[in-house]
């Protein structure tokens, strides 16, 4: 005979304001099998939990229902309280009176009645709860970091310095990411490379970090503490052990006219190439799409000139399987290719470029060695127009959000331009200036006051070429909304920051969720900004939302800290909410008939065959068995099983059935 305790929470007034908690408690008290019921202002508070513990002891409760907020909020809290009082934590359930009742209904009889129904339903469930015990799983203390930009670099270094193994996977030939492409960084104007490259080298040399460049995640299986990751190492066509990175191959390669990704198409590279001088590792790869040997079957110049004979044309992609305990995603962002802007003529007019391209023009290591020269004819532009919010905050372009970094880097761009072209005039069309951040507003002021950048509050409707000039038609909304036309030599679009291509597929490989714009979703917008809703997978940097460098770095360290915390334990205990195939006395052994349709349905290959043998060792029956290590507890198999031979702990057939009965029979 079960003795259930029911505890109704007022949640301050969040529940009691619309639900007559006293009546709910009273009604609950009358339910069969309920030994005690009460209501209290804050069940989750210390005194609140104490009441539960006392009652569990005093009344020898066999089950507890806490009717309060969502179990997704406080189930762990109350289950802990119960276990401290000596009751198996899985004998405690929560009725969601706040999110699902008091907050969504007005004060009324019906609301209170609904609360009573919900409580009764959970009481019936608890009656059928069975004590469960956590499944212990060992933790593999190696972290997989996906993406070698500043976020991935920071996370890797922090985790490695905490004494754990790190595998850093980067899809490009070198780590460094977007930060390595930047010229100077706001708000200090110190050179991006100068602060980044030391970190890149540190990664390469760190004893705890294994670096895999030109590699991508193929598959991720398993769960927190015990993931199995499959990495595709794309063929670099060179033997990295032999290659000394002397670079002769690249200088001799006959295919020289390939737009360099690193220089955003403003510079050229060869088919065998190192993306940029400070690359890590500083060893080349062959880009098969453009290599005349791979395409036309002859050339092999690089092979001839290579002093160490490191070229390997027959090299193939390699799949490596890794055991890792945690994953940090740091795949970063991309800039929207403004081909979606016919009105700005990007792609049509050579001298309309993106902010990222401007970074390369302004960068000392860039195609113009840091001189601001326009792509069309290499002239130094005397008039330059910057357009902030090219795409951002523009629902018509499908990007209602703010890209966050543009206000700052546009100010920076204008400044760099003014510093390099003293006679030049620069204009910035903007919607608002968002310079929230340490020394940010001051930075923008400097641009306006010291460098005399002309800020025009308004948007640009069209850009077109007329006798060698770019006519920028916009509006100045401040000076009683006059139309303005500027004859510019070059236009820079602060094109929106968007999620990286393929982020959707990656999210699906990792089973994590993503938002409407394909940025990965954090587990909680405020309290769990670096976690994903899949345990053991964390987020760092702009793959979660547009971020500037300081913010990215701090999130990366945050993610690293989370990994370190996870790795501080040797064992994790996993929720025992998993499926089980019943067993019964001979001659039946189990009602399972071994049709194994559950096996085809299981997303985790958790269903195995078990041969039941008699004393003589002859197989008398083949039945299904659930591997508790693999089962994640979705219960899909349960709904399939025609003979009702599989059931899932914590959501058993009996329980779900009882809940339906209880919920619908309120007379």
């Amino acid at each position: 005979m079960s003795k259930i305790g029911v505890f109704i929470c007022h949640c301050g007034e969040n529940i009691s304001a619309t639900v007559d908690v006293a009546r709910v408690a009273e009604a609950a008290g009358k339910l069969e099998g309920v030994a005690f019921s009460t209501d209290y202002k804050y069940m989750c508070s210390d005194p609140g939990q104490t009441i539960i513990k006392q009652m569990v002891k005093e009344k020898g409760l066999t089950g507890v229902v806490v009717a309060a907020c969502s179990p997704r909020m406080h189930e762990p809290t109350f289950r802990k309280a119960c276990s401290e009082a000596g009751l198996n934590p899985y004998m405690c359930e929560m009725a969601n009176l706040r999110e699902h009742c008091s907050w969504v209904h007005d004060k009324s009889e019906a609301t209170t009645q609904k609360a009573i129904d919900l409580v009764r339903t959970l009481v019936e469930k608890v009656k059928l709860d069975k004590p469960l015990f956590p499944i212990k799983v060992p933790v593999t203390k190696t972290a997989l970091v996906i993406g070698g930009g500043i976020a991935g670099i920071q996370s890797s270094l922090d985790i490695a310095n905490a004494g754990h193994q790190v595998i850093l996977v980067e899809k490009d030939p070198s780590i460094g990411g977007h930060m390595s492409q930047l010229s100077e960084t706001f708000p200090t104007l110190d050179c991006s490379q100068c602060i980044l490259t030391p970190r890149m080298v540190e990664v390469a040399q760190h004893p705890n970090i294994t670096l895999m460049t030109y590699a991508e995640l193929e598959k991720l299986e398993g769960s927190i503490g015990n993931f199995k990751a499959t990495i595709r190492k794309k063929a670099k066509s060179i033997d990295e052990k032999l290659c000394t990175g002397c670079g002769v191959c690249a200088t001799k390669c006959p295919t020289k006219k390939i737009p360099s990704e690193f220089n955003t198409g403003l510079g050229m590279r060869t088919a065998i190439y190192v993306p940029f001088p400070q690359a890590v590792p500083n060893k080349p790869v062959i880009d098969k799409e453009n290599c005349s040997y791979y395409q036309k079957g002859k050339c092999k110049v690089c092979e001839k000139v290579c002093p160490t004979g490191a070229i390997r044309f027959d090299q193939e992609d390699e799949l490596v399987e890794l055991e890792v305990g945690a994953v940090v995603i740091a795949t970063g962002f991309n800039v929207m290719q403004p081909s979606g802007f016919p009105e700005y003529g990007y792609g049509k007019y050579k001298d309309v470029i993106t902010g990222l391209q401007f970074e390369r023009l302004a960068s000392a290591s860039g195609p113009t060695l840091g001189e601001i020269r326009r792509p069309s004819d290499g002239k130094i532009p005397e008039k330059i127009v910057f357009i902030a919010c090219a795409g951002s905050r523009d629902p018509a372009k499908g990007i209602p959000y703010c890209s966050k970094i543009c206000c700052m880097y546009t100010a920076k761009h204008a400044m760099l331009y003014q510093h390099k072209v003293h006679s030049g005039k620069s204009y910035i069309f903007y919607m608002d200036i968002r310079a929230a951040g340490k020394n940010y507003e001051e930075f923008v002021r400097r641009a306006i006051v010291e460098d005399e950048v002309n800020y025009i509050r308004g948007r640009v409707s069209k850009i077109y070429e007329q006798n060698g000039k770019l006519i920028v038609k916009g509006v100045d909304t401040l000076l009683n909304a006059k139309n303005v036309e500027i004859e510019a030599d070059m236009v820079v679009l602060a094109s929106a920051a968007v999620a990286n291509e393929g982020s959707e597929e990656l999210a699906q490989k990792l089973h994590i969720s993503y938002d409407a714009y394909k940025f990965f979703s954090e587990a909680h917008p405020k309290l769990k900004p670096v976690e994903t809703n899949t345990a053991g997978i964390f987020l760092a940097g702009a793959c979660q939302a547009p971020k500037d460098i300081p913010e990215t770095v701090s999130q990366a360290s945050g993610a690293a800290a989370k990994v370190a915390i996870l790795f501080s334990q040797n064992e994790l205990s996993r929720d025992p909410v998993i499926a089980v195939v019943n067993r019964s006395a001979p001659p039946l052994y189990s009602t399972c008939v071994g049709c194994f349709m559950c096996a085809t349905a299981c997303p985790y290959q958790a269903i195995e065959e078990e041969l039941i043998t008699n004393r003589k060792g002859e197989v008398i029956k083949k039945v299904a068995r659930v591997n508790p290590g693999l089962c994640q507890g979705c219960g899909t198999c349960v709904a399939f099983c025609r003979s009702k031979s599989i059931d899932i702990q914590g959501y058993t057939n009996e329980q779900m059935y009882a809940e339906v009965m209880a919920l619908l029979n309120n007379e």
Partner: protein
């Protein structure tokens, strides 16, 4: 007799729709009291017999809701569920069990307002359809039995 208050039971998955309904709460979006939620780990877990049972226990309508395709926390539970409901719906329809009384939906953890819409529109539909007396009549034999 006051206006007919439909009894509606909602079978939702823990990861998307249950969380979505939580968000409806945290966003203080109001909806009708008629719908009461039962929490499942995944739509894949929802047994068709439970739906049938709900009707015989006096439900006038049913909501079944989970993660959008590709967003299932267990990667494919909702895909299996979708097939199951396609078949089940066809069968019920053939049998003259009113399929308009079962609303299937995908409501993600971020779609608090969508959940409110689903609830309210379902309540409206069921109000229009009225109490499910046809099924109740059939189920009525239960009580007779009990009386004997």
């Amino acid at each position: 007799m006051s206006e007919f208050e439909p009894k509606i039971i909602a079978f939702v998955c823990n990861w998307c729709t249950y969380a979505g309904a939580d968000l409806t709460g945290t966003s203080r979006i109001k909806y009708a009291q008629n719908v009461k939620i039962i929490r499942f780990p995944c739509t894949g877990r929802i047994d068709f017999m439970l739906l049938l049972k709900s009707f015989s226990e006096g439900a006038d309508g049913i909501i079944v809701s989970g993660c959008h395709p590709n967003d299932c926390h267990y990667t494919s539970g909702n895909f299996h569920a979708r097939r199951r409901w396609i078949m089940f719906r066809g069968l019920l329809d053939l049998l003259g069990i009113d399929v308009r009384r079962i609303q299937y939906s995908w409501v993600s953890a971020a779609e608090g307002s969508k959940w409110a819409d689903v609830v309210n529109s379902t309540v409206a539909t069921i109000r229009e359809l009225g109490p499910y007396t046809d099924y109740a009549k059939v189920a009525g034999y239960l009580e007779k039995e009990a009386k004997l």
